[in-house]
Structures are given as structure tokens and as C-alpha cells.
């Protein structure tokens, strides 16, 4: 494992950020940061599928739902089962990974845009199923309350701070995993598949295994996020996992830079900040000035504009990964090459020169 060896400053945030609750006693701020953390975790997971392996997953919220519902069913009064939070983190990520493989296995032959639509269909089926299986999930009412996690006999209670620390630890774990994966043999296989699947296969890469691994690992991250998020809210309900959640996470990737771990984190936090802070605050400001404006109504417009504008003007994202930039620019510079779909990427740096490697 190499973490911080090449980039010592990468460790710095994880030393400083745990101290934030000591400096800022405002619980709502910590609460906001914790929610933002859950989405960073989701974005890091989706980045494995979309950013590393280049498989567009439009139903990613389904795995988030599976993680959350796993916790809700196995750690609440719903069935009288009370598996501890810490065990559930592991269990739910495994369950989510299994569903990732179940979705991935039959769909691997599909071309990129068809795969996107199938994952979208899956993303619609999962929350709808949770909604309809009323006898197990209470349907639209959801499941609540859920068990509060405890550490060394101390229950987490209602303060956001312990959840914040857990979320940070999970993000650190996810970053560590993603960084190492990216420069691993598997990570390079993903990169090869992303750039030219046919060529990758001819170079002896087992594309099936590599793509399944991407689905499983990506899903497992959102399983973790689901457990932590559900435990913090002490509630799950099917409307938390609609299509717009999948698109929100995708917008985070597109904004920050697909394939770049730090870009994805920045993109994710930026959007959470706009959503959870900037829009409500400016609405309050407008109301205090007696303007009847509700900026939170423009939320979906914002995701849409980000997706369109970024793809048109800066498809590699604000903090791009070198390879992804080369891939997008290549296609633009040389339409003849792009017309043959995906040709050789002579402009791209050699393998293993990724941001994390």
C-alpha cells in the first residue's frame, strides 16, 4: 500500500479535518459536512466505474439504496435484528458489491450508451421495488428509527460529530483504496478498457473480470455510504434514491474531473456546498430583502447546466486527470480518428502515469 508516499500533502486533510468539530461547535455545520461526506464517498465509488473503467452508470443510487436498506432491515426493530453498525459497514458493502456483479454480469456485452440505459432501468427498478414491498419496507413511509451506532459502549446519539468522524474515516479508506487501485494492474486494465476495449482484450486483459470488479468495487463504496447515511438519518425511505441522486453524483464527477480522485472530491464538495448551503442561504437572503425568490427551485437546472456546459467546454473537469484530458482533447483535435470511434491515443502519457501513481 502506498498512501502519501508520493504526495505527503494528501495525508494532511485527514489530520486536520477531524479537528473541525472542536473549532466549529455549530451542529448544523457538522451535519452538513457529514452529508457532504456521504456524497464524496458516493462520488469516489462512481468514479471507479465511470472515471476509471469508463462505464457510464446512471443507476448508481440503486446501490446507495441497497446499502441503506440493508442497514435499515438488519439493524432496527423492523425484523428485530440488531447487527452492530461496524459489522453492517462490511456486510452492506458486500451486499452492494454482489448486486453490482448481478447487474454487471449480464450487461457487460452492451455498448456504452446501452449499458447506461440498462443501469438507469436498474436504478428505477430498485427503489420502486423497495417502495412496493410494503410488508418488508413499510413502502413510502420507509423504516425508522434505526439503531444508533455505538463505540466502546457509547451510543452516537443525536450529535452529528461522531458520524462526521466516521464519515471522514470511510473517505480516507476510500481514497486509500481508490489511489492504490488506480495504479494497480487492475487500474491499468480499466484504463485500457476505457480507451479501447477491443485493443485491451487483444492485449490479454480479461475485460469481463475487470469490468465486474469495477462494478463490484464501485457499488461497495456506495454500500458504505448508504449504511453511514442511513444510520445518521435514522431513517430510510424510497424517495431518497431517485434518478436525480444518480445524476447529482454524476454531475459531481463531471464537474470535478472524471478519473481524478482529488478532482472528484472537490467537485462533490462544491456541489454539496452549493446545494446544502449556498442555495438555501441565498434564498434566505432574498426573503430577508422581501424578494419572493426560491433558489432551491433551480437545483435541477444547475445539475443540467453543469453537465451540458462542462461537456461542451471542459469535458475533462475542473481538476482533470491527465489521461482523461488527453482522451477528450484527442477526439476534438482529430475528428477523423474519433470517427473510427476510439483510435490510438498517441497524445496520452504512458500507462501508470495517472495522478495517483
Amino acid at each position: 500500500m502506498k498512501f502519501g508516499r508520493e504526495r505527503p500533502f494528501a495525508v494532511l486533510p485527514f489530520l486536520v479535518l477531524p479537528l473541525v468539530p472542536l473549532l466549529d461547535r455549530n451542529n448544523s455545520h457538522i451535519d452538513f459536512l457529514t452529508n457532504a461526506g456521504a456524497f464524496i464517498l458516493l462520488a469516489l465509488g462512481l468514479n471507479i466505474v465511470v472515471g476509471f473503467a469508463g462505464l457510464l452508470d446512471l443507476g448508481y443510487a440503486a446501490f446507495f439504496a441497497i446499502g441503506s436498506y440493508s442497514y435499515a432491515m438488519l439493524a432496527s426493530q423492523q425484523f428485530g435484528i440488531h447487527i452492530p453498525f461496524w459489522v453492517m459497514l462490511f456486510v452492506a458493502s458486500v451486499i452492494a458489491a454482489i448486486f453490482g456483479i448481478l447487474l454487471g454480469a449480464p450487461t457487460l456485452r452492451l455498448r456504452g450508451d446501452y449499458l447506461a440505459i440498462v443501469t438507469l432501468g436498474f436504478g428505477e427498478i430498485v427503489p420502486q421495488t423497495f417502495l412496493n414491498l410494503t410488508q418488508y419496507t413499510n413502502g413510502p413511509n420507509g423504516i425508522s428509527p434505526l439503531d444508533s451506532p455505538s463505540l466502546f459502549g457509547h451510543s452516537f446519539g443525536f450529535s452529528a460529530t461522531p458520524y462526521y468522524e466516521v464519515m471522514l474515516a470511510l473517505i480516507a479508506l476510500a481514497v486509500l483504496l481508490a489511489t492504490n487501485l488506480q495504479s494497480s494492474r487492475l487500474g491499468r486494465a480499466w484504463m485500457a478498457i476505457r480507451e479501447d476495449e477491443l485493443a485491451a482484450r487483444h492485449m490479454g486483459i480479461n475485460t469481463t473480470t475487470a469490468k465486474l470488479a469495477a462494478f463490484a468495487l464501485g457499488a461497495s463504496f456506495s454500500g458504505l455510504a448508504g449504511v453511514a447515511y442511513a444510520a445518521k438519518l435514522s431513517l430510510v425511505s424510497p424517495d431518497q434514491f431517485q434518478f436525480n441522486v444518480s445524476v447529482l453524483v454524476l454531475s459531481m464527477l463531471v464537474l470535478g474531473g472524471m478519473g481524478n480522485i482529488w478532482g472528484v472530491i472537490v467537485g462533490s464538495f462544491t456541489l454539496s456546498f452549493i446545494n446544502g448551503f449556498l442555495l438555501p442561504q441565498s434564498t434566505n437572503l432574498a426573503h430577508s430583502m422581501h424578494l419572493n425568490l426560491d433558489f432551491t427551485n433551480y437545483r435541477f437546472m444547475l445539475y443540467g447546466v453543469i453537465l451540458v456546459a462542462m461537456m461542451l467546454f471542459r469535458p475533462e473537469g475542473l481538476i482533470p486527470s491527465k489521461q482523461r484530458r488527453a482522451e477528450f482533447r484527442e477526439a476534438k483535435l482529430d475528428p477523423a480518428l474519433a470517427a473510427e470511434e476510439q483510435g490510438e491515443y498517441t497524445l496520452g502519457p504512458g500507462p501508470g502515469a495517472g495522478t495517483g501513481g
Binding site: 457510464l56 450508451d113 432501468g121 421495488t129 427551485n297 437546472m301 453537465l307
Partner: protein, 305 residues
């Protein structure tokens, strides 16, 4: 059996609307291989445009006599024109620049456009469903044990007529030939003197206009419209296009009617079926894509390398 026949009629009329939307998906996919995700929202936009025209004409209920023909024609044509222009605008703004980009880039902008359109409609007509005047009288025809509403006949007939008109256009006119050539090989078509930008814009114009017509019809048929309708209807219509064989006009029509039938039958014959229709339809999508991605009428093409 009576129930089955009744559901058959209901399914066919439901399918007529899907079929009209599916035509737009299939045309655009056929020519630039893009899943125009915003197409479902153009359809909803059509119902809102039609509603605005009807409000402008002062129509709030059923219209009778010769005025009916006038009102329907004006409304449909206006909705088709507005939607067609919206489609062309979307292509110009969001897709044209990305024609040579990696395939997933235009798909992502299409999702973005869909969100923008939905938000615009939400800001325009509010977040709740809006009632739509039932312009067309709906006498019920009793055909043995089954009841057929005039509106149901209208939906089915409109869909079939539009499909035949489109077939004629594509296979019998110069512009249609240009579209087929562009779909086959864009570069070669350009070398032969075809203006591919205009041809692609024309494809969007026609596809979106058909969605506009579908928007008006669905408004009259259901008596209500909602800014978010297009998401689900769009997905189902896309499923229809894929089921029929994407890029194939007759396939889109067949797929549309089949999806309508599947939905109607699922509602009737699965316990608590109404809750499960979406799950059933999307499962059909997944299964078709996995086992027969070329669809029922499509020819299977090897992936271009």
C-alpha cells in the same frame, strides 16, 4: 376474456402515445447514434405548449362541430412547430459540437438538457400536475363487450398515420434519402454533397414535432399533464424503440404498441399490478438489451471498430 379485450384496446391506445415518442428516439439514434435523453421532456413540453395555445384560444372544455377541427389543427400544429424548433435548438446547442467527441459525452449533455427542460417546465407551470381541457368529445363505442372511447381510436389512428407519413417521407423524398445516406455514412454523405448539418437538424425537427403531437394527444387523453411526465414516458418510449429495433421506424411503432400492451396487461393480471408496471417495463428493456439488442425488427450490426 372481456377484460382481456378491454385491456387490449387500452394497451393499444397507451401504446400509440409511446409509439409516437419512440419514433423520435429511433430517428435520432438512427442518424447520429445518440440516445436523445431530452426527447421525453420535449414530449411533455408539447403538452404544455398545446395547453398554452388552448388557453390562448379560450378553450377550457369540449369543442363541438367545425370549430373542433380548427381548434385541434391549430393546437397540434403549434405544439409540433414549437417542439420541433426546441429539438433543433437542443441539437444546435448541446449535441452538434460533440458529434466527434467520445460517445458518452453527448449522452451526458442529453441528460443535462433533460434536467434543464424539466426545471424550466417546473418553473413555468409549477411542480404539481396541471389539468388539461378535454377538447375532443369522447363518445363511447360499444363493440360487443368492450368499450372504445373516440379518443382511444384517435390515438391509435394518429400514431399509425404519422408512422406511414414518416415512412413515405424517408423512403420517397430527396430529403429522406439524404437522411438515410447520412445515417449510413456521414462522411461519404457529405462528400456526395449532402448538407449533413441541415439533415441532422431536420431529423431533430421531425422527431421533436412528433413528440409535440404526442404531447397534445396525451394531454387530451389523460386530461392532465405534469412537468415530470416525460422522464417515465421517455424511458418507456425508448424501451419501445429498442424493443422494435432502434433505427427502425416500423419497429418503433411495433415496440410502442407492445409496451402499451405489456403495461396494460401487467396492470390487469399481476397482483397490485399498477405498482409494478414500471418494474415490468424496465425489466423488458434490460432483457431485450441483453438477449436481443438488435430488437425485433432491427438487423444486428457488428460494432464499428
Amino acid at each position: 376474456m372481456d377484460v382481456f379485450l378491454q385491456q387490449l384496446v387500452n394497451g393499444l391506445s397507451l401504446g400509440g402515445i409511446y409509439a409516437l415518442i419512440a419514433l423520435g428516439y429511433t430517428m435520432v439514434y438512427g442518424i447520429i447514434e445518440l440516445i436523445n435523453f431530452a426527447h421525453g421532456d420535449v414530449y411533455t413540453l408539447g403538452s404544455f405548449f398545446a395547453l398554452a395555445v388552448l388557453t390562448g384560444l379560450g378553450v377550457s372544455g369540449e369543442v363541438h362541430g367545425p370549430a373542433l377541427i380548427g381548434v385541434v389543427l391549430v393546437t397540434v400544429l403549434a405544439a409540433m412547430l414549437c417542439c420541433g424548433l426546441t429539438g433543433v435548438l437542443i441539437e444546435r446547442l448541446a449535441y452538434r459540437r460533440l458529434r466527434n467527441a467520445p460517445r458518452l459525452a453527448p449522452l451526458i449533455t442529453a441528460i443535462g438538457m433533460s434536467f434543464i427542460l424539466e426545471n424550466v417546465m417546473q418553473l413555468w407551470r409549477g411542480p404539481s400536475p396541471v389539468s388539461f381541457p378535454s377538447v375532443i368529445p369522447n363518445p363511447i363505442v360499444h363493440l360487443g363487450p368492450i368499450d372504445i372511447g373516440a379518443k382511444q381510436i384517435l390515438v391509435i389512428v394518429t400514431a399509425v398515420v404519422m408512422m406511414f407519413a414518416l415512412q413515405l417521407f424517408i423512403y420517397r423524398t430527396r430529403l429522406g434519402k439524404a437522411m438515410r445516406a447520412t445515417a449510413q455514412d456521414r462522411d461519404a454523405a457529405q462528400l456526395m454533397g449532402i448538407d449533413i448539418n441541415t439533415t441532422i437538424a431536420l431529423t431533430f425537427l421531425i422527431g421533436s414535432a412528433l413528440a409535440g403531437a404526442a404531447g397534445f394527444i396525451s394531454g387530451v387523453y389523460y386530461g392532465t399533464t405534469w412537468f415530470f411526465n416525460g422522464f417515465e414516458a421517455g424511458l418507456k418510449a425508448f424501451t419501445a424503440a429498442v424493443l422494435g429495433g432502434i433505427g427502425n421506424i416500423a419497429g418503433a411503432m411495433l415496440g410502442g404498441f407492445l409496451i402499451g400492451l405489456i403495461e396494460a396487461m401487467a396492470t390487469q393480471y399481476i397482483p397490485q399490478g399498477a405498482q409494478w408496471t414500471n418494474v415490468v417495463v424496465f425489466s423488458v428493456l434490460v432483457l431485450v438489451l441483453i438477449f436481443r439488442p438488435s430488437g425485433l425488427l432491427g438487423e444486428s450490426l457488428p460494432e464499428k471498430v
